[in-house]
């Protein structure tokens, strides 16, 4: 076995720590998170019925594990998946919101990664904005490309994932403008955040595209985002054995 030992959790650039935003902003985003997660709790039933808890738990583990897969970029650096859009396309946005919320809570409480008072901020940015920006873009594109069938789903998921990352970064910048603790010129901060996260988003988009593509190839029935498109496929009865 030649696997190098990897630290359990590397610091990830998207987790807001304690003290980054002031107390009122932290409390306000916590309220937004509570409202959003509360709504997701009642709506996720429709996506997974009574299997919600065991399945969403396992999907949360998957998101957690997928975030730890390293994608080499070259020159010794590597990136990793954030997984919001991927989860939304695979299991539906409400369940994805719950999964990402639980992942963030476990990271904050069992791995000390991401602030305790910033948990609401992190949930708002990644479980609400990250998941829903990706999902809404995906649904919009799917409506346009409905005629193309399930083949385009991976590409649509990829584009949605690309858009979701800079959108979450933009939401972070907006929060920083309200509750940031140091006067940074906002124009430059926005440009730097959105620019850098567009680069990260390209990686996120490509990985999401490839991952959704591989799942559609083997278990298309599991991909929530492809449901409406799959039913259009008629049953083929082949009477001749292909040579």
């Amino acid at each position: 076995m030649c696997n190098k030992h990897v630290p359990v959790r590397k610091g990830s650039d998207m987790h807001v720590p304690d003290g980054f935003l002031d107390a009122p902003t932290s409390v306000a985003t916590a309220a937004v998170a509570v409202a959003g997660v509360g709504l997701a709790l009642s709506r996720a039933r429709r996506e997974l019925d009574d299997r919600t808890a065991p399945l969403a738990g396992l999907v949360a583990v998957f998101v957690f594990a997928a975030q730890m897969l390293n994608f080499p970029v070259g020159a010794g650096t590597s990136g990793h998946l954030l997984g919001g859009t991927l989860a939304a396309v695979l299991v539906g946005p409400w369940t994805a919101t719950l999964c990402l919320t639980v992942v963030l809570a476990v990271q904050a409480l069992l791995f000390a990664d991401g602030g305790i008072t910033a948990l609401g901020t992190n949930i708002t940015l990644m479980a609400l904005v990250g998941v829903w920006a990706g999902w809404l873009v995906f649904v919009g594109l799917r409506r346009v490309a409905r005629s193309a069938g399930p083949k385009v789903v991976p590409a649509l998921a990829g584009v949605a994932a690309l858009v979701s990352v800079p959108t979450a970064a933009l939401a972070f910048t907006a929060l920083y403008a309200v509750g940031g603790r140091a006067p940074i010129p906002l124009g430059e901060l926005t440009a730097a955040m959105v620019g850098w996260h567009t680069v990260i988003g390209i990686g996120e988009g490509v990985i999401t595209l490839l991952a959704v593509g591989s799942i559609i190839a083997t278990r298309p029935d599991l991909v929530h985002g492809a449901r409406g498109l799959l039913s259009a496929r008629p049953l083929q009865i082949r009477t001749e054995v292909p040579a």
Binding site: G11, F64, L98, F111, G114, P183, I184, L210, S214
Partner: protein, 253 residues
């Protein structure tokens, strides 16, 4: 549990912090960190005092120092940000040695560094002394919505299982000569991620069926409720009380 995913912060022990009930520790942690975050930006002395409180609590857990330090790496991105802050922020300038930096930026950078370190230390003290099972019981006790607690419970239960599955897939890839070096390896890793999703999802279905056959109705019974004495509450809330005293002292002076 094998696999690097299952191997989270918890360290077995019998320190005073280990013995506190999990829900008391969780409330104590949240109260403490919230008060530390509420300190004004220029209250450097008060912030240093809260850092000292956090260091004392970590020392009380009797967890090896090396273990604690290795967990502080989660802070790295924000150390970088705190160092850059004085150079990019606006406002009146001040000179330290050969460089001129922004004064509010310097103060904010310092404040961020100390606040983040204080809260990470406190979170480490919580995580090293609380098993994942106790965290689930604490959240249940604190009336976090049942479905959310269940998702979290299933997640921490299967963290090690799925983690070692991911590890086995990695070993399988590498024993077939795969070496992730450049962007060209992405399709392979992404396909593995896809396979991991299918396996996790199917495991979830099997777990659900196994639980149904054992009488699961969508709720988890509370078999061993957590209890705390007033003394334990006092101990758990002591760091928070100290932070409150510092905050009041800063506001009054």
């Amino acid at each position: 549990m094998g696999g690097q995913l299952g191997d989270h912060l918890h360290v077995e022990g019998d320190s005073p912090v280990h013995r506190l009930p999990a829900h008391v520790k969780l409330i104590g942690l949240v109260v403490f960190v919230l008060l530390v975050v509420a300190l004004p930006r220029d209250a450097h002395l008060a912030r240093a005092a809260t850092l000292a409180v956090a260091v004392i609590v970590v020392a009380l857990t009797r967890v090896p120092v090396r273990h604690v330090l290795s967990r502080l790496v989660v802070e790295t991105p924000f150390v970088v940000f705190a160092v850059v802050l004085p150079f990019v922020a606006t406002g009146p300038r001040t000179t330290i040695g050969p460089v001129t930096v922004s004064r509010p930026g310097l103060e904010a950078g310092l404040a961020l560094l100390v606040t983040a370190t204080t809260s990470v230390l406190m979170a480490v003290a919580f995580a090293t002394t609380t098993s994942s099972r106790d965290l689930v019981r604490a959240l249940q006790h604190l009336h976090v919505p049942d479905r959310l607690v269940q998702i979290l419970a299933f997640m921490v239960r299967y963290l090690g299982v799925v983690g070692s599955q991911a590890q086995r897939m990695k070993v399988a890839r590498e024993s077939r000569g795969f070496a992730p070096r450049s962007v060209r390896s992405w399709p392979v890793i992404a396909t593995s991620a896809g396979a991991l999703f299918i396996r996790s999802y199917e495991r979830g279905e099997r777990v659900h069926l196994a639980m149904m056959s054992r009488g699961y109705t969508g709720r988890m019974p509370v078999t061993d409720p957590l209890r705390a004495t007033p003394t334990q509450w006092g101990h758990g809330l002591l760091p928070g009380a100290l932070a409150l005293v510092t905050l009041v002292a800063v506001v009054v002076s």
